[in-house]
């Protein structure tokens, strides 16, 4: 049973989502306001947080920032207002794993949730440790280090890096990375993958260019000289 936390002030929607996700075999805890949501997220061991951006008290983006400051790498799916690109990009930059525009189709929500839950460390496809370009990645413990410094990555960032490390020095297309990390192909002009990559680069102690951008096509992990 996957434990999911929903932080949304729309109580009626929360009730229905609970029903839907229960039907899919997950348990949903719903919290209405930001402060309580943050407490609950820090206290409980949730696998996924569904986070509405517009919240009373502290808003979703602030909540996310504080959560990540506490080095919690719980997967976060943001529920944004449609067309609010700025919130969306800010959310991703603050470490959200994916986003879904409201109003959404429940089927799509379930698909996104499943995609994010799919990759818990235990169910990893490649249990062997990976090492390349200064990175050491252990899929079983979900631990990564770069140049012997431990990195704290969100599950999505972890999956992206793992996907890149599985094909060292090769071009990995954006679609392939997106499928591996987000469980879906990129929509036209979806910038989420680029934001995730930039987040990983920011966390590296040195040489962020070891994750090379191949313009318009994808990314490549290269060995730094």
């Amino acid at each position: 049973m996957s434990k999911i936390l929903l932080i949304d002030d729309d109580v009626e929607l929360a009730g229905m989502l609970k029903e839907i996700l229960t039907r899919e075999g997950m348990t949903l805890t719903a919290v209405e306001d930001g402060e309580a949501g943050l407490d609950e997220a820090l206290r409980g061991d949730y696998e996924l947080i569904l986070l509405d951006v517009m919240l009373p008290g502290i808003d979703g983006l602030q909540l996310l920032q504080r959560l990540r400051q506490q080095h919690r790498s719980t997967a976060v799916l943001m529920l944004t207002a449609r067309g609010d690109d700025e919130d969306r990009v800010t959310g991703l930059e603050l470490g959200a794993d994916d986003y879904l525009a409201k109003p959404f189709y429940p089927k799509e929500l379930v698909a996104r949730v499943k995609a994010l839950l799919r990759r818990s460390p235990n169910t990893s496809v490649t249990p062997e440790k990976l090492a390349y370009s200064g990175f050491d990645l252990d899929p079983t413990t979900a631990e990564v280090s770069c140049d012997q410094q431990s990195l704290i990555l969100t599950p999505t960032e972890f999956d992206i890096l793992r996907c890149l490390m599985q094909q060292p020095d090769q071009l990995v297309s954006k679609d392939q990375l997106s499928v591996a990390a987000l469980g879906r192909k990129l929509a036209p002009f979806d910038r989420s993958l680029d934001v995730h990559i930039s987040n990983i680069r920011k966390k590296l102690p040195s040489n962020p260019e070891r994750i090379q951008t191949v313009r318009g096509r994808g990314y490549r992990l290269v060995e730094m000289p």
Partner: protein, 451 residues
Amino acid sequence: MKLRRTRWYNSLSLRLLVLFWALLLVTASSGFLLAIWNTEQVRPQPLAAEINQILKPLLSDNSTFGSLQTGRLVTGDYRVVAKLASRGKQRLNIAPDLSERYTPLVLRMLDANSPQQMPISDRLLVGPYVLGGDRLLLARPLRTEELIDRREAESKQREARTTTLIIGSGFLALLLGWWLIRPIKRLIRATREVAQGSAEPKLGRLPKRSDEVGELARALVTTAVDLATSRDAQRRLLSDVSHELRSPLARMQVAMDLLEPEDGGSNVHWQQLTRDVHRLGTIIDRILSLSRLENGLVNMQSEAVDSGELVAKLISDLCYADPSCSDRLKQVGEQWPTLQSDPELVRLILENLVRNALHYTDGLITLSCDIDGERCQLLVRDRGPGVPDDKIEQLFEPFYRGDPARHHQAGVGLGLALSQRAAGVMKGSVSARNHPQGGLEVIVDLPLKCA
């Protein structure tokens, strides 16, 4: 800005009144001056030596000419025209054929110390000569050449004065006109700006003026702000309503999902409900996009966009959702331009146009392009029946939809309006025409480089 009323002493009416009054006075006095100038005689000149030689000997003998009367011929054609006697009943005697208006002149000449000469109308006055206490003024008719010279000099002088006056007054009138018209022209420009949606028309220092023009300018400033506010409010209402509709809509979608019948939804009512909920979602999305475009809330990206690749991707995406499209959509031409533009907006425009074409027609749809200097045209042409010419303009109005009877399943009527606004953001435009060989052709005109 507070609407300050014009005080009477600052008012334009008073200024104009004073101005026109002054103008009339100046006009009248300059006409008067001109008349005086032009009638004023040439000043007395020193006597020419030759005349003196003729007259001096004759007029030095007191006894001979002591009794000279006015009108008497002295010598040649010199006559006595005025006489100031030292004694007697009638001391001043002026020839009756000398006009009265010359009397002051005659008196002045009689009073002079030494003989002078002076042309008046058609004769030459000479004098005074003193004979036994009497003072005499003589005259002879002007000789023809003298007469001509005089007339010429006079008319030249008159012309010069008239020209000066005309030019001077014209210049003054120009200044005056400029002073009056300049603020009005500025107001016209500002009003046009307001009509185009500016909330802060350029008025310079006009609102600071204390007269009626200043009052008008201040009224215009207030009106511009009011207009902008109400326009914003109108747009915001639509956008706010749509925002508010989203939460219940989200719940409806979830509820629909929970209600889904076991057999996957063969119930027609359930299907209808699902479609309508979906449609509501689309309408709200569209309204929000439209209002964001109209309010300039879209942060335009500017990057290299390979239009050919974009079109190919669009076709493959559309056909992925509905494989039956692949036979109908065709990308024509090899030379697709690379634009410096916003890929998302370009795609939004083309996707709307292609979806419309797919929706309203059955035949082939071609996408082609044309490069024309600094601009390019992306063309989407269908093979449908086209649109009546008088309806083409209406196509771009929000919520306009084709024949509702025939297309009751059509979109929400915002696609073309949305495309046009999106093109506007990129300094381009979207227009439509009936293709000469049938079908509707929608033309997206975009600059190759949009800053």
